[in-house]
């Protein structure tokens, strides 16, 4: 444990303290950059977009992951295998490859648009990528597997007899699912949602590629401020706010969910 903490302190904490210092000193000492965060309409719009995308991605990922996990934990052996592939294969492919894969599928001359045009369903290509939609699709695809594990742990801990009891008392399968199964896996849903949301907040590569510069999220904004503008002070201030926000979310999460339930 100790060497790991030391490693994190040297590679992460120390540089981050440098970033904190920039946020208070560049271009001149003071709280000017934090003031700009509140007043700058561009920063505001990026923050709002980031929250919006993260909320939609969290909901979509948890719903998709829930469906996959039900099959993975409670399906027949063949169904379990299929679900396992769905969960594991994305883990083995780089985030970059996956993002470009989605571009190939979603772009104007991509598979989906050509196919839909081919069968005469649409005449003009749908705008599926280089916008928020593309970002949401790509991020959801990336994050679903992370939502699966806390859900699986919650579903595995569930006593089957409770489900049998509900059915024996006259409850249909659908009703049992909604009134017994889902509430009893609520801790898994909270854990999965928190993990996905926190991950999503800091996404960079996927939104950069699938957003095509039109759907900038916080991490990309930091990158733009530091490498393109250059406006290191503002970039640093945004970073600090993002880290504090994530830290606060994690603190709230761990009050309600034990870390063991997340893996």
């Amino acid at each position: 444990m100790a060497p790991l903490l030391l490693f994190l302190a040297v590679t992460y904490l120390w540089p981050f303290l440098g970033v904190v210092k920039w946020s208070f000193t560049l271009p001149e000492p003071g709280l000017g950059q934090y003031g700009a965060l509140i007043t700058d309409p561009l920063v505001q719009s990026v923050f709002i977009r980031t929250l919006r995308i993260c909320i939609v991605v969290t909901i979509a990922s948890v719903i998709a992951a829930y469906a996959i996990t039900v099959v993975w934990v409670r399906g027949t052996p063949a169904q379990r295998m299929a679900a396992e592939f769905c969960i594991l294969i994305p883990f083995w492919i780089s985030v970059l490859t996956r993002a470009f894969g989605w571009v190939a599928l979603l772009s104007n001359r991509g598979l989906i648009n050509t196919w839909l045009q081919g069968i005469g369903f649409i005449s003009e290509p749908l705008a599926l990528v280089r916008n928020e939609f593309g970002v949401i699709v790509g991020m959801t695809h990336f994050l679903v597997p992370f939502a699966v594990f806390p859900l699986a742990s919650a579903m595995r801990n569930l006593d089957d007899r409770v489900l049998l009891a509900a059915r024996g008392l006259g409850s249909s399968r659908t009703r049992t699912f909604w009134t017994i199964f889902v509430p009893m896996t609520a801790s898994g849903i909270i854990g999965a949602a928190a993990i996905v949301f926190v991950f999503a907040l800091g996404f960079f590569v996927t939104p950069a590629i699938l957003g095509g510069g039109r759907s900038v999220m916080v991490a990309e904004l930091v990158w733009l401020r530091i490498f393109q503008s250059p406006d290191w002070g503002l970039g640093a201030a945004i970073s600090v706010v993002l880290v504090l926000f994530v830290g606060a979310l994690m603190a709230v999460l761990f009050r309600y969910v034990r870390p063991r339930q997340l893996i």
Partner: protein, 360 residues
Amino acid sequence: MPKNARAAEIKAIGIGKSFGHFRALNDLTLDIGRGEFLALLGPSGSGKTTFLMILAGFLPPSDGRLFSDGVDITDRPAELRAAGMVFQGYALFPHMSVEANIAFPLKVRKRPAAEIRQRVAEMIARVGLKGHETKLPSQLSGGQQQRVALARALVFEPGVLLLDEPFSALDKSLRGQMQAEMKRLHQETGTTFVFVTHDQSEALALASRIAIFNHGELLQVGTPEEVYDRPANRFVAEFLGEINMLPLNNVRQENGAATGLCEDRTITVRGATDVTGDAVLAVRPEYMTIRSEAESGENGIVATTTASTYLGAATKLDLLTRQGTRLTVSVPNDVAATALRGGNSVWLTWPAERGILLAR
């Protein structure tokens, strides 16, 4: 027996269940009467729980048909069978209060809210859970959880209540109390009760009839007195309490009585049996008496005392016959003291109608 129009009458005909190559239940035919309190008794893996799950509709039988009040319900799913079920470990809904747990079957049946409130309150009073209405199951003791499970299973007035090892999770003192309460609930509701147990004393104390299972076979069904005093085979005899087994040779049937030889003495057995040839004679320890002499024509055997255990109300004696059969008897303490003082050899005697003749 209490009468209840809603109590179900169940008929199982040739029910069998296989799990792959394993035959969990074989050709079971059984009638369960209206308002009966039936125990399914047997060791673990004997098929009793499998049969209960088939009754509840959680397991489809591989063979046979199941009828409830004359209607074939073999293929009817569990949620449409209206059987109340109390699971081992109770299987309460952990995220629902006591009230919500008990209201669940009524809500599922879309009863009016006022009726639900009233019946839940009645049920809570009946099982003695007043003051615990808003608690979660995790805040209750084992006995209270079982009361919730019972209330939840009975609140919708099911035709039959199925209970899977209902007392196994309770400590001994609480078990007796809950058994009494179960008996009272059975009398008050008049519903057909079917419960699974591996504890023979529980079955004898509670049930109006006992069905005894072993290796997936239904061996015998009868009242507690019938299965205890007239076991159909050695397994049933040995499973239900202590019993002494003696080899009995050259058994012949004459005038409604059987006679045979046991350690050079002629032994008479009276009672319905058609076993002949070499058989086994079974006698419950409490029917055996210790004497210094046996009268001629009386059933008796000579044995030596090997050990005695003081049980408070009585003394248990371990004995050994001349040909090496081990026996136990339970006798009053003063009789045991006399027997032990009188030296090694004693006569054990028993009435002819207390002997049970079984195939070897």
